[in-house]
């Protein structure tokens, strides 16, 4: 990204962009505090899952006028579902730069050793539930002391992993108007039960550590893991790991995968020269999003994805095949509280401390309480229901 920024600065002497890098939690906190003091930067990156909250607060400037203007971007060259993700009350509030979908990373060496290969001896990653279970079983090798030396699969990021499977089973989370949480339904329970079974019944995955389990894949002790494309750079550092990427197997009747996007957003009070300059920079980044892909991302401009250069990025293009059916997290202003409840339910179920149905019911009750609280606050301020 820094290289792109520097190139832009060099090519556009009348605009100087200064980049700041930081981790996500810090970034959002800083944005929020800076916003209060009127010191937010002109341009910042917001995940699709957080767009709703920022847009509702009037923090972001819409960009439909700029998109259709002289220096705009052809809407046909933007993934429709991703573009919809930044829509709020009919207007769009950010320009998606990429789609970081989750995909399956698999260890080619372990696959070859287990004989899960095609006619030419190339490892054959699973594409559906049966193949996945079969592969996982064959790739879990018992060791001394009753514990496997090698695991077929590991849960890394519970939230994205299981959200994907729930959506593949066709489970819904909210009523369409977002007034009621319905996460405890048959499909979600079945999906969660499937995940629990992987650990407890089929015993192809170890008890979860959440994100830290990723180390196991890097150590070459785990054959398959679902993670975002952004983990690619991390794996490339592991020089002794022979891995590749593939779309997540379809475990249910539906085809879906978790994703989020980085969106380039503008401060709401921008105007005049500042606005034009910021937009030029945004368009530049989008047009050059292939460079961004090289760092382990998937551009959301189909024209860029169809280029030979991108096609050669094997993991990225494999993951990119999933773009047409990516699913974002539910669009909520109180996204963090939702994630806390959802994560808690998943954890309880995975650790065997509650049945999937019970765990999801608790989450559902709590989330409905939060919805009521949010609605009450809006009504008390005389603004009516605001979704």
């Amino acid at each position: 990204m820094l290289r792109m920024v520097k190139r832009f600065n060099a090519e556009n002497p009348d605009i100087q962009a200064l980049m700041q890098r930081m981790d996500w939690a810090t970034c959002y906190n800083k944005l929020f505090v800076a916003g209060m003091g009127g010191r937010a930067p002109e341009l910042f990156v917001v995940h699709t899952r957080a767009i709703q909250r920022f847009a509702r607060a009037g923090f972001l400037r819409e960009n439909d006028d700029l998109m259709s203007g002289a220096n705009g971007i052809d809407l046909a060259d933007l993934d429709a579902n991703v573009w919809k993700g930044v829509e709020y009350h009919g207007k769009h509030y950010g320009l998606p730069l990429d789609v970081h979908a989750m995909g399956m990373y698999y260890n080619r060496k372990l696959f070859r050793e287990a004989g899960i290969v095609d006619a030419q001896g190339t490892p054959r990653p699973p594409t559906n539930r049966e193949e996945f279970l079969d592969a996982a079983k064959r790739l879990t090798i018992p060791g001394s002391g009753g514990r496997p030396d090698q695991w077929g699969f590991v849960f890394t990021n519970w939230e994205s992993n299981i959200y994907t499977i729930m959506r593949q089973f066709g489970g819904e989370f909210f009523t369409p108007d977002y007034q009621k949480c319905i996460v405890n339904n048959a499909e979600n329970v079945a999906a969660l039960q499937f995940c629990v079974d992987l650990i407890r019944r089929y015993k192809v995955a170890p008890p979860p550590e959440n994100f830290d389990s990723w180390i196991g894949f890097r150590q070459g002790k785990v054959a398959m893991a679902f993670e975002g494309i952004y983990m690619l750079a991390d794996l490339q550092k592991q020089s002794d790991l022979d891995f590749s990427g593939a779309p997540v197997p379809q475990m249910g009747d539906h085809i879906a995968v978790w994703a989020d996007s980085h969106n380039l957003c503008m401060r709401s009070d921008l105007s005049g020269e500042k606005l034009a300059a910021t937009w030029r920079f945004i368009k530049y980044l989008s047009d050059n999003s292939l460079d961004w892909a090289a760092g382990g991302q998937i551009p959301t401009r189909p024209s860029r994805r169809n280029s030979p250069r991108f096609q050669q990025m094997s993991v990225q293009s494999a993951f990119a095949r999933q773009v047409p059916y990516v699913n974002y997290l539910p669009r909520l202003p109180f996204i963090f509280e939702f994630q806390t409840e959802f994560g808690l339910a998943l954890e309880k179920a995975l650790r065997g401390r509650a049945t999937p149905a019970d765990a999801l019911q608790v989450a559902q009750d709590n989330i409905n309480r939060i919805i009521a609280r949010d609605r009450e606050a809006n009504e008390a301020a005389g603004r009516g229901i605001s979704a």
Partner: protein
């Protein structure tokens, strides 16, 4: 009045005792040594952890951090930290010692209710103050300058409380003797009390320096520009949160900690017990 070193002449410790002490010390230091060693391993090797010592020692992690001054102006950050932390230590020791002396030894109207109020603020969680402090500093125009990190630290109650308790423990005879000799309050403070308090003052200076050095939330919220960051914040921020780059993290940790360790080892000479005089008749 015979002055002598306040050190037990017979080492009532024995070999067994000292071995235990040394063992404990080794255990405490071990994790830190581990960080330093791990910083020299390539990322791929760290994940496997086959051995304590690096199999292929590399300075790659350090090179990546140090060799990128545009994105990682690490020397700039280091200087910022030194400047800010030193200033904070100096400020705190100065104003706290004066105020603590006033409350411990002098008449002060309202002392009886001001004191608990000050101590009470020790109990206030820092997060409560963060947002209001930000708004105040914005008004003053101090945001994105070192002043935002230095000046507010002077109001902390920790140094005040520490020195107050310490001053209470000093026998009054010495001060009274000086007063009878006609010394002004300031001279008593400067020439009698402060020298006697060297261990406490040095301890406070070190605590404050280290606390300021490691402060994360303050610089994060009150500074905007990359070149104004302090070292721990700058180093932490250049990493992404999606993956744990152990090699870089350890190298960054080593770089952050080294200056403080060196400074501590250097300054702790001033807290030697040989400075504590008895000052009593034998």
């Amino acid at each position: 009045m015979r002055l002598r070193r306040n050190q037990p002449s017979n080492q009532g410790m024995g070999l067994a005792g000292e071995t235990m002490l040394a063992l404990g010390a080794a255990l405490f230091v071990l994790p830190i040594v581990l960080i330093a060693i791990t910083a020299f391993k390539p990322d791929a090797e760290i994940v496997h952890f086959k051995s304590v010592l690096p199999q292929t020692a590399t300075t790659g992690n350090f090179k990546e951090i140090l060799g990128n001054p545009e994105e990682i102006p690490i020397f700039r950050w280091f200087l910022n930290s030194v400047l800010v932390s030193s200033a904070v230590a100096l400020l705190v020791v100065t104003v706290s010692s004066m105020a603590a002396y006033a409350f411990a030894r002098l008449d002060l109207a309202g002392k009886r209710w001001i004191f608990p109020l000050i101590i009470g603020t020790l109990m206030v969680p820092g997060q409560v103050l963060l947002v209001p402090a930000y708004l105040i500093l914005n008004r003053l125009g101090w945001l994105d300058t070192p002043l935002a990190l230095i000046i507010p630290a002077g109001g902390g109650a920790f140094g005040f409380f520490l020195l107050h308790q310490f001053f209470l423990g000093i026998p009054k005879d010495l001060e009274e003797a000086a007063e009878l000799d006609g010394c002004s309050r300031w001279r008593i403070f400067w020439n009698v009390v402060l020298p006697l308090s060297r261990p406490a003052l040095a301890s406070l200076a070190i605590f404050t320096f280290v606390g300021s050095w490691n402060d994360f939330l303050g610089p994060l919220v009150f500074l905007d520009s990359v070149d104004k960051y302090t070292l721990p914040v700058g180093v932490a921020l250049f990493q992404t949160s999606y993956y744990a780059e152990y090699g870089l993290t350890m190298a960054a940790a080593a770089l952050c900690t080294l200056p403080v360790v060196v400074a501590f080892l250097f300054f702790q000479r001033f807290i030697t017990q040989s400075v504590a005089l008895t000052g009593l008749k034998d």
